[in-house]
Every structure is written in structure tokens, then in C-alpha cells.
């Protein structure tokens, strides 16, 4: 993730330890990267959601700050109730490490500005608990308000059951906060930012962020 951020932004991100309590001055983006916080021994992200630094992250988001949570980061955002719903065990009850395709459902956000709505891109998924779940009313609200960012789809862009590898509700792979400044998604766009590593399909997400943050008032 740090490599992708540096590639897009031209400078490396600051790394924060979970016990810190303040974000560095001038922070314009907080990224909760993937990883097994606390070993995922409890529900994924449940303990990390209570890490000391999360209070500052929550306040940052409440002030309109941009937050990206990928994989375990998405799980933490849900456990911290910064995004609705939960990530359950994959429907297959197995860890899934493979390529997947994502369809952009909402263009024009700070995370998707470089894509057109309906664009399809390849990403890597690597998780055991990525099965997005929310009650029907929440799902309807997310869809109604255009807060579904990405859906699992096949290479042609069809959101089929076969392409929904982890069994997520309505093929949902990523969701946005109402102000569109908090994004959580399970797959790893940061794994495809270099042709040598298999492609640059994920790069537009980071370039979109650079565009949005450059335009945003400091």
C-alpha cells in the first residue's frame, strides 16, 4: 500500500503506530491498510477498531477527512461503525487469494474520479472474511444513495453469482460514506500499480485520490 501511495503521490506516506493518538499535522488522507490486526482472532478488525489512534481517525473523518480502508482496513471501518454492515466469513468458508474483477458503480468520487461508471478493472483479493453483509434496508439505502462504490463482476462486467467469489450481498465489494470521503473495499487495488507486478488496473484509484486532494482546500 505504501508503494502504491508513493507511486501516485510522489512521496511516501507517514506510518503510524496503533497506540498513537494524533494524526500528523496536515494529514489529508488516512489509509487503513490490509493485514491481520490482532491476528483476526476475534472478529476481523474488532479489536483494532478500538485502538487509540482510531479516535483521531474517527474525528478526522467527521471533519470531512478522506479515509481509505482496504481489506482488514475495511473490516476495521465497519467494526468502528464508520461504514455500515459487516464482513462475514467467505461463503466457501475458505481463504480466497485470487484475481477478481470489479465494476465501478459510482464515478466522480474522490476515489473513482479517473473511472467512468461501469468501468471494469482487475484486482487481487486475499481474505477469509470478505462476505459483505447488511440488512435489506441498509443495502437499499446504500444503493439508493449511490454509496456502492464497486461490485464483483466477471471480465465482461456482469455482476454474476459466479463472479461473487466470497458471497457478498448484492456483489458489493466496496462502499462509501454519505459524504463520499470514506471508502472501504475488500480487494487490493494497490497490488496492481506496476506493470511488472501484473498490471496497473488499480492505479486510477490512487490517481483519483491525488486529483481530489490536490483540488481540496487544505
Amino acid at each position: 500500500m505504501a508503494i502504491a501511495l508513493e507511486r501516485a503521490a510522489g512521496r511516501p506516506p507517514a506510518m503510524l503506530f496503533h497506540r498513537e493518538t494524533e494524526l500528523p499535522r496536515g494529514t489529508d488522507l488516512v489509509v487503513l491498510a490490509g493485514g491481520f490486526s490482532y491476528g483476526d482472532y476475534l472478529r476481523c478488525g474488532a479489536i483494532a477498531a478500538h485502538s487509540p489512534i482510531m479516535r483521531a481517525v474517527r474525528e478526522f473523518a467527521a471533519r470531512g477527512g478522506h479515509v481509505l480502508g482496504v481489506c482488514n482496513g475495511f473490516q476495521i471501518l465497519c467494526e468502528a461503525q464508520m461504514l455500515p454492515g459487516a464482513l462475514l466469513r467467505n461463503a466457501s468458508l475458505r481463504f480466497l487469494s485470487m484475481d477478481c474483477h470489479l465494476r465501478v458503480e459510482r464515478a466522480g468520487t474522490p476515489f473513482t474520479g479517473r473511472w467512468q461508471k461501469g468501468a471494469v478493472f482487475r484486482s487481487v483479493m486475499a481474505h477469509g472474511d470478505g462476505n459483505y453483509f447488511a440488512d435489506a434496508a441498509t443495502l437499499d439505502r446504500l444503493e439508493g444513495e449511490g454509496l456502492v462504490a464497486f461490485r464483483y463482476c466477471d471480465a465482461r462486467g456482469e455482476a454474476t453469482a459466479e463472479a461473487n467469489l466470497n458471497g457478498s450481498a448484492r456483489n458489493i465489494a466496496g462502499i462509501l460514506s454519505p459524504n463520499l470521503r470514506v471508502l472501504g473495499l475488500m480487494p487490493h487495488p494497490e497490488d496492481y500499480v506496476d506493470p511488472l507486478m501484473g498490471g496497473t488496473d488499480g492505479l486510477p484509484l490512487f490517481e483519483s485520490l491525488v486529483d481530489a486532494l490536490a483540488a481540496a482546500p487544505a
Partner: protein, 740 residues
């Protein structure tokens, strides 16, 4: 008050316990001679684990000495926690493979998981950040429910630990054979990267220096695990479950970060992980290597359970623990780092100049053993070895083709040993860390880039146990040669190997003969290919109720390529010409075609001509690096047509094949397992053939790649659709695992 001397066990009781702990009467007599009295319980525990097969290599050491271990790029050969080689730019690759066979049979998930945890510690102990995990797995008959249960648990365990700790699992190999029904093999390999001038070792020095314990607390798990791993299984293997440890990958992750943070300072004198035989082997080996004495105060050991005895603490194999010797006065600095990572830290002793290990607990000296004889008087056996009789070569005339080439291909790509391993690797995080250039199934060796550089490692694990069983020497050669070939087929330069010697009961001459034969073959191949052994592990007594596994010297190979972008995969590219490099005679003895199609397991395995191997491989590597080679795949299990099919499936690109040369039956040409061969997909076939002729390397055009999708078109026009082939190839393992 401290009593001056340990309390000896009553003589009769001591002798009886020694036998229960796996010491022979002669070995126990040596203990008496060294101590000059009967041992205490703790002392007996120390001797029995240090002299177990698992820790002492007493049956294998005399043979292992025959393996070449040196090359200009070798920084550390066998004898430390892991091997170290220079890989350029002032960096070193640190790697080792280790077995967790016995625990994985008893408790597949935890057995495999702690196998991964243990080998990770062996690598970061030396100052390296782990960057890749691989494995070599062997299971029994896939139709047995027990095999499915073990395979499922092992795969979940490897993934559960490796995924959580954040080290990608990038490669491996799997075989099935009924010989592993009661004794699966789980060999885990870790590769790490360190600065070549910042390698840490286990050599303790400095009288008075503090002995520091870090990591998880000590509990009663895994007591006598090393002893368990040094005996055959009887029918009551289930009862050994308490000897299996439980893994905690999150603590391991913290331990990696804390150790590497401390290693960035100069506070550490020596460090070793607590693996088999835990506190005993780590303290004895560290003090022994430095020619020191060591005093331990077990009251200071962080404990997870109440009322543990000295014996239990010294023999516990609780996971995620390390022992370090610090420079004097650096304790506070080190402790702050471990506390930050929420790990236990305790000074539990001092180095002395007595040459003895003295263990105190609750004011009592529980053990007082001279270290030199514990090592120098350790039993060492040159056990009787009965050579495996050379099998007569298979008479080609005796194996007519019963089904035809197309049907044989369909059956072979769907056979357990050749079917797609996707079901397995899809459960391993192969991309975490963002440096995996070629993932499982994409190339003959995994390609893992070094962060911030163009340089990359090429990594593989290999062994063909059925060859080793038929002819241990040729099989040993082939295992090393295949690892070398798989690295070569990516364009990388093979540098060194780690070996994991899995065999049956060494007290049986025919097993020792297999061991000696494999070593002989491996040594010859290592020498011919400049591919030395820098680390390894021996796992003997792989038998259940008297039935031994196939001899399985698993090889983990490491190579380097200067520019990761030059590495090639095996996926066929449309329009390329297909050229076979190497000589084809149609060797069907011990081939998978013979086993799967003709239903016979016999004959001599294909011989490995090491001079041809070297010449062909050096040629292929040079051509890849010169450019123009779009894909490359070595020809191994299943022969030439299976290799071409694997390339076609990987690229989803068909190919049209030319007729075999006269004089070789079609099935022998397409499915023979002659060694030292590669299939190259090249832009200019004529240029490659000319270069091969100039280099004296046998090469022949065998066909041309077609269009995306498409089919394999055999000589004579028979067409095999890739879709159908893929279904046969990829459907098998998921179906087997669902019991279909």
C-alpha cells in the same frame, strides 16, 4: 538457599525412564559416564532430547558430510539456524526448509501452522526479514477420507499461519501416493532478505552476558515433541496429540518486528529461536557454539501455567519464543522494544566460563551438565546400509499404448499428481508484500522481487519420490537437477539449495541404503551444477505400523535474476514457435504415463546426465536473458505433451504440434520423462535452433502456438479443446476434496 547438586533419580527408575524417553541402553550408559552419577529428571530430559534423532542427526550426520556446501557466494553453510548466500547489492538470502511431518499427521492444522512458524523463526533469527514461504507436501491415496482431512487441515494451517503473519506463500509442490497414507509430509521453507554484513548467529560469547527470553510464555505444550518426531507411529498415534504445539501467528508477527528492530541496533551478541526441544536446545546450542557455560534461573521464565517443573519448562515446545545473548547493560533498551510490541521479556540467566549448563528452579539445582561432552559424546551412527538393487530398465516393447495419445493426455492432466493445484494455492496469500512478480502456476519458479530493486529471487521446491524409491542415487540427482532446471526456466541463475530429507526408520538397512543413495546422487548433482547445500533438515522414522514412506529428499532451490522484468513464465504466447531443448529417447520407466495409463510402477527412472543438464540449462538461461523467449517450461512429470498442455492452459493459447521423429513410438515421445529438457516459446525458431546447434545443444522444433482459446492440435489433425482439457485439469482437486 540453593542446593549444590541435582537430585539423581533412583538408578532403576532412571534407566527405565531413559528407555521411555527414547535413549538406548548404550546411550544411557554414556549419560552415566558423563555425569559420573545417575541423572536428575531434568538432566535426563535434556540428554534425551539433545540426543534424539531430531536434534542430534545421529543417524544422518555421517552421510550429510558428503554434500558440497561451499561456493564463493555462500556466506553461511549448514550448522546455523538457516543458510545464507550473497545475492548482490550487499544483500543476502537466508533460507531453510524444515519438516513438520509427525505433528501434521496427528493434528493437521496446528502441525502445519507451527511448521510454518518454526521455519519463519529460523530465518528471522538470523537477521533476515522473511519475504516468501514455500512448501513441499506429500499425502496418501487421495480417495481416502483420511487423506482429504489431512490435506484440508494442512492447507488451512499453512495458509492460516502464513497469511496472518503477512509473508506470501509463493510456491510449493504436492504428490499423492499410498505410501504416505499413514505419514504425510509437510515441509515448509522460508526465504528472507538481510544485509550481507548484518547476519546474526547463535554463537554465544562474553562471560556474564545476560541470557534473555522473549516472545510468548512457556506452557506445557509440546513436551517431548522432538522425541515424538524421532520415533515411528504405532496404531495409537492419536494419543500423541498433546505433543503438538499450538501456533499464534500474530505473536510471531510481533516477534519478527521486535527482533528486527532490536537487530538494527548492536545490542545482540547471539540469538536463536526455541524450536524443537525449546529452551533446552537453544541454551545448550548457543553456549556450546561459543564454548561457554550457561546458568539459567527458571523462576524468571515467563510462564503461562502454574506449577510447572524444571523438567517441563526445559522440554516445553511452546511456540513463538526466542533466546538471546545481549551485550552487558543493553537490557533496558532491548526490553523497551519488546514491551512496545507487547511481548514478554525476561533476563533468565548469564553466560559463564564453566563450560557447564546449570539450571536452577525454586532454590534447587535441577541440572548441572558439562556441555562439551553433551555434544562431543553424542551418539553418532554409521548404521548398516543396504543398497537398493538397481531395477532392470523397462522394456519399451512391453508397453504398447492402450488408449492413444489424446486420451492419455486427458487422463494425465486430470490425475492427482498432475492436476491443477489451484484449489490449494487459492487459499494462500501469494501477493502480500507487493513483490510477487510470478505467482504460483505462472512460472516454473516463483519470482519475488526485492523491494526497491529490479533484482528478484527465483524459488522452487522439488522432488520425485517414485524415482528415489526405484533408484535412490538417480532420484537424488534428479531432485537437485529439477530444482536447478525450474529456476533456470525462468531465466534466473540457480545459487544454492536447502534440503529436507524425509525417510523411514534408519535402523532398517534398506532405509539407510535409500538415504545414502539419495545423498550420493544429490552430492553429484550439487557439484556438477554449482548448486551447494547451505541448510537442511532430516526427518527419519516416517513410518506407521512398519510401513515406510517413499524416500523423499525434498529440495528447496534459490536463484537470482538481475532484472525481474526479464524473468519468463510458462504461459504460451500466440504465434510463437515451440522448440524443445534437450534429448528425447522416450523413457517410460517410472513415468506417470506408465503408472496412470498402463497401471504399472516399474523400471529404472530416467537417468540424469549432469553434463547435458548443465549445458542445456546454461543455454536456455542465456537465451532467455538475450530476449526473444516469450515462455519456458521444463519437461518433468508427465513428459513433453503434458508440459506443452500446461503452457497452453496457462496462457489459454492453443498449439499445433509436429510429428515425432521416426524411431520413437508416439506415446513414448510425448509422455517419456527424459531429463534435462525444456520447451521454449520463441519469436524466431530458426535463430534458436541455429544457436543451439552452435552450442552443441540438442533442439528441435515441435510446433507453433495458435490463437487465444483454441485447441491443442496433435500431428495427424486430432484436436483437443483447451476448455475440455482445463475442465479435466482444474476440476479434479476440488471434486476430490468434496468427496466426489
Amino acid at each position: 538457599m540453593t542446593t549444590a547438586a541435582p537430585q539423581p533419580l533412583p538408578a532403576g527408575r532412571a534407566r527405565q525412564l531413559a528407555a521411555e524417553f527414547g535413549l538406548t541402553p548404550e546411550e544411557y550408559d554414556r549419560v552415566l559416564a558423563i555425569l559420573g552419577r545417575a541423572p536428575s529428571l531434568t538432566e535426563l530430559g535434556v540428554f534425551s532430547v539433545m540426543w534424539s534423532e531430531h536434534c542430534s542427526y545421529k543417524s544422518s550426520k555421517v552421510w550429510l558430510r558428503e554434500l558440497p556446501t561451499r561456493a564463493p557466494w555462500v556466506i553461511q553453510g549448514p550448522g546455523e539456524n538457516a543458510g545464507v548466500i550473497a545475492i548482490g547489492d550487499g544483500l543476502a538470502a537466508v533460507f531453510k526448509m524444515e519438516s513438520h511431518n509427525h505433528p501434521s499427521f496427528i493434528e493437521p492444522y496446528q502441525g502445519a501452522a507451527t511448521g510454518v512458524g518454526g521455519i519463519l523463526r529460523d530465518v528471522f533469527t538470523m537477521g533476515a526479514r522473511p519475504v516468501a514461504n514455500l512448501n513441499a507436501l506429500r499425502f496418501g491415496d487421495p480417495k481416502l477420507p483420511l487423506t482429504r482431512r489431512i490435506l484440508d487441515g494442512v492447507v488451512r494451517g499453512i495458509g492460516g499461519y502464513g497469511n496472518c503473519v503477512g509473508v506470501p506463500t509463493v510456491g510449493g509442490e504436492v504428490n499423492f501416493h499410498p505410501a504416505y497414507n499413514g505419514n504425510p509430509l509437510v515441509n515448509a521453507m522460508t526465504v528472507g532478505i538481510a544485509r550481507a554484513d548484518r547476519i546474526f548467529t547463535a554463537r554465544a560469547t562474553g562471560v556474564g552476558n545476560p541470557v534473555v527470553y522473549v516472545g510468548s510464555r512457556t506452557g506445557r505444550d509440546g513436551i517431548h515433541g522432538a522425541t515424538m518426531a524421532s520415533a515411528e507411529f504405532s496404531a495409537d498415534a492419536e494419543e500423541k496429540r498433546p505433543t503438538v504445539q499450538i501456533g499464534d501467528p500474530f505473536t510471531e508477527k510481533l516477534l519478527i518486528e521486535a527482533c528486527l528492530e532490536l537487530m538494527a541496533t548492536d545490542a545482540i551478541v547471539a540469538i536463536q529461536d526455541m524450536g524443537a526441544a525449546g529452551l533446552t536446545s537453544s541454551s545448550v546450542e548457543m553456549a556450546g557454539k561459543g564454548g561457554m557455560g550457561i546458568e539459567l534461573d527458571l523462576d524468571a521464565v515467563p510462564q503461562r501455567e502454574e506449577g510447572m517443573s524444571a523438567y517441563e519448562m526445559m522440554l516445553s515446545e511452546s511456540q513463538e519464543r526466542m533466546l538471546m545473548i545481549l551485550k552487558p547493560g543493553r537490557e533496558a533498551e532491548a526490553e523497551a522494544i519488546f514491551r512496545k510490541w507487547e511481548l514478554d521479556f525476561a533476563v533468565i540467566g548469564r553466560l559463564t566460563d564453566t563450560g557447564r549448563i546449570v539450571i536452577r528452579h525454586k532454590g534447587v539445582v535441577e541440572a548441572d551438565i558439562p556441555l562439551a561432552p553433551l555434544e562431543s559424546e553424542a551418539p553418532l551412527y554409521r548404521r548398516p546400509a543396504a543398497e537398493t538393487p538397481k531395477p532392470p530398465p523397462l522394456d519399451p516393447a512391453s508397453v504398447p499404448d492402450p488408449v492413444g495419445v489424446a486420451e492419455a493426455l486427458r487422463r494425465l492432466v486430470g490425475s492427482p499428481d498432475l492436476c491443477s493445484r489451484r484449489w490449494i494455492w487459492d487459499q494462500y496469500d501469494s501477493t502480500v508484500g507487493g513483490q510477487t512478480v510470478r505467482r504460483p502456476g505462472a512460472a516454473d519458479a516463483a519470482i519475488v522481487k526485492i523491494e526497491g530493486l529490479r533484482r528478484a529471487l527465483a524459488l522452487t521446491t522439488d522432488c520425485t519420490p517414485r524415482y528415489c524409491a526405484a533408484d535412490p542415487e538417480e532420484g537424488g540427482k534428479q531432485a537437485v537437477a529439477e530444482a536447478w532446471r525450474n529456476i533456470t526456466a525462468t531465466g534466473a541463475t540457480p545459487l544454492a539449495i536447502t534440503d529436507n530429507m524425509n525417510f523411514g526408520n534408519p535402523e532398517k538397512p534398506e532405509i539407510m541404503g535409500q538415504f545414502a543413495g539419495c545423498i550420493r546422487g544429490m552430492a553429484a548433482a550439487c557439484r556438477a551444477l554449482d548448486f551447494p547445500v547451505v541448510s537442511g533438515n532430516v526427518s527419519l522414522y516416517n513410518e506407521t505400523v512398519g510401513r515406510a514412506i517413499l524416500p523423499t529428499p525434498a529440495i528447496g532451490g534459490v536463484g537470482v535474476i538481475e532484472d525481474a522484468a526479464r524473468a519468463v513464465g510458462l504461459a504460451l504466447v500466440p504465434g510463437c514457435e515451440l522448440v524443445l531443448v534437450g534429448e528425447t529417447r522416450g523413457h517410460l520407466g517410472q513415468s506417470l504415463w506408465l503408472r496412470e495409463i498402463a497401471g504399472r510402477e516399474e523400471g529404472a527412472p530416467p537417468p540424469v546426465d549432469l553434463a547435458a543438464e548443465r549445458r542445456n540449462g546454461d543455454f536456455v538461461r542465456a537465451r532467455i536473458l538475450a530476449g526473444g523467449v516469450r515462455a519456458c517450461h521444463d519437461v518433468s512429470d508427465g513428459g513433453l505433451l503434458v508440459a506443452v498442455a500446461e503452457m497452453a492452459l496457462a496462457g489459454d493459447v492453443g498449439a499445433a504440434l509436429e510429428p515425432p521423429p521416426a524411431g520413437i513410438p508416439a506415446h513414448a515421445f510425448w509422455f517419456g520423462e527424459d531429463q534435462g529438457r525444456y520447451v521454449l516459446a520463441v519469436e524466431d525458431g530458426a535463430a534458436l535452433l541455429a544457436a543451439a546447434a552452435a552450442a552443441g545443444v540438442p533442439a528441435a522444433r515441435i510446433g507453433r502456438a495458435g490463437a487465444p482459446g483454441g485447441a491443442l492440435v496433435l500431428p495427424g489433425g486430432r484436436s483437443i479443446s483447451l476448455a475440455g482439457l482445463r475442465e479435466a485439469h482444474e476440476g479434479v482437486l476440488p471434486a476430490l476434496m468434496e468427496g466426489r
